[in-house]
């Protein structure tokens, strides 16, 4: 079985003037299809940097990254954009939706922007996804009229629009109240279970980690341990 993500020997060093700061050192991560993995660590441990590298938003100083069997670490900007659009999904903590667009437009945006417009099939797919995240009655609402939890659910739907192999979520519940956070987590677990979509969730919230099938903990830029938990 081909791993969804196979990252080997990932190093990341930032240069600030004459000062070099090593953020990640010799990271090896493998994600199999259908996994729901929590990436844990304290602030500054390098988890967001690792997520950005896996999401092709940042190029590592060293290391090899294979996603869905394809080497990606040396991709050009255009290749990275195309790959992110077609094979990856993103959910962020803040600024997740485009405020001037409706919920359905936000969901369809990744497909429409690359496809040259919103076709009927895109609209149908976006509509189905919004129904699935429980927002069929909010499709025509502008993003600014949605609550925090609704926005994150729209963001989940958008991340799934192009049927990605891997969804990367950076503190997806960090800005939500407990009830909304639980709804969002339940939704991601449901999609993971029913569709087999692989999730890598960057979080410092132990409650989130407990709902994942596996946890990877980073400390000072290195993997501290890798615990393959059962489903909680």
């Amino acid at each position: 079985m081909t791993a969804v993500l196979d990252a080997r020997g990932i190093d990341m060093t930032f240069q600030n003037g004459d000062e070099l700061t090593r953020v990640l050192s010799g990271i090896d991560v493998t994600l199999d299809p259908g996994e729901l993995v929590a990436l844990l660590g304290a602030s500054g441990s390098g988890k967001s940097t690792l997520l950005s590298i896996v999401g092709l938003l940042l190029r590592p100083t060293a290391g090899v990254i294979t996603i869905g069997g394809e080497r990606v670490e040396a991709f050009s900007d255009a290749e990275s954009s195309r790959f992110r659009n077609q094979r990856l999904g993103f959910i962020f903590q803040f600024h997740n939706l485009l405020p001037d667009f409706t919920a359905i437009e936000n969901v369809a945006f990744p497909a429409a922007a690359v496809g040259g417009g919103m076709s009927n099939s895109m609209r149908r797919r976006a509509s189905d996804l919004l129904s699935r995240v429980g927002l069929s009655d909010r499709m025509g609402f502008l993003a600014t009229r949605l609550s925090g939890g609704q926005k994150q659910r729209v963001a989940i739907a958008r991340a799934l629009m192009n049927r990605p192999e891997l969804v990367l979520a950076d503190e997806p519940t960090g800005s939500l109240d407990r009830a909304s956070a639980d709804q969002v987590l339940d939704l991601m677990r449901e999609i993971n279970r029913e569709d087999g979509t692989t999730f890598l969730i960057c979080t410092h919230d132990e409650r989130v980690a407990l709902r994942c099938t596996r946890r990877i903990t980073l400390r000072d830029g290195r993997i501290d341990n890798a615990i393959q938990d059962g489903v909680h």
């Binding site: 950005s52 999401g55 938003l57 940042l58 900007d77 255009a78 954009s81 195309r82 790959f83 992110r84 659009n85 077609q86 990856l88 999904g89 993103f90 962020f92 803040f94 600024h95 997740n96 939706l97 485009l98 405020p99 001037d100 667009f101 945006f109 990744p110 429409a112 922007a113 690359v114 496809g115 040259g116 417009g117 919103m118 958008r158 991340a159």
Partner: protein, 401 residues
Amino acid sequence: MFAFLVARRYLGSNPWQTALLIAGVALGVTAFVFITALIQGLAVRLTDDVTAKSAHVSLEPPDRVARILPSPDHDTEAVALVSMLQRKQIRTWAATVALLESQAEVTAISPQITGSAVLVRGEAAAPVAVTAIDPKNLDAISPLSREIVAGDGRLNANGIMIGIRLAEAIGLSVGQPVLFRTDRGIERLLVVEGIFKSGVQSLDERVAYLSLETARPLFVLPAGVTNIEIKLKDTGQARSFAAFVSEATGLRATAWQDRNLSLADALTAQAQTGTLIQIFSLISVLIGIASALSLSANRRRSEIGIMRAFGVSRLFIASVFVIQGLLIGVIGASLGCLAGFGLCGWLATFIRPDGTLALPIAPAEGGYALVFLLTTAGAVLASVIPARSAARLDALKAIQQ
């Protein structure tokens, strides 16, 4: 095109700011249209004032020069001197008129004898510039008959028509005789048949009209004329037509522009001033667009970061901002052209008592196509800087902000 939808949505998200931006562009375009229409109108009025009452092309005999005569004996030289007393004339004027009549661009031809004379009445005497014309073509070059305030312009055998100031100066009225003495000393008693008032002081006190037949014996030109005046359909073609006639006839042909070089200089200076004002108004429009879109790009950094994260290309991001510039340019230029046309049209309704426009504006000459194209192209160019900066945004940094 999805980028078009995004651009439109961005512009619509802040309607007041967009409206102000478009109003700024429209105002600049209106100023451009107004200045262009005013300068064009002024040029047309000045040109019309000059060309309506004068010939567009004047034909005169070529300058005579002394010639060295060929001699079989090379030791001696013979020179044909030029008589300074002999009046220059066009002897073959009938053939020249026939040639001119065959040219489609010619609207009027007036063979003339011009010279100077003195009018004497009692002890009063006044110098006059004489123009002898064919009375049947009285209005060929200048609308003389409209300017006659007493008598008529039939110009019979002993008739003369003079300006109103000249008539007042030496106490003449229609029907009265006056002694006409040419620069060669030839005298004849003429009768005032008409008095005109052109409104131009120098003409009203210094010009007299005779018929060609009356003038011939007085100026000792039994067959020739001194000059042929021509009117054209298109005054702008005067120089090229003058060159053509000069080549065809050997006569000296002078276009109206070359007789009024100070007017040409004034028109050029006026056009250059107008161009500078137009350039500055366009530059201010473009700076406005560039700064507004730069602010928009900066305000939308996080959104651009999100778009880049889910794989939207840099080209798409750039095109969203270029399309915004295009829309602002097209809408602003269209509204500005409409407002400019309306303003110029309104100003053109103010008429002086003499029937001329209070402000010499030409609403149809506002340079609408030019300003529309320049503004639209300029708006697109102005949007390139913010578009590039938006497209170059680092997605990660933008999201983290």
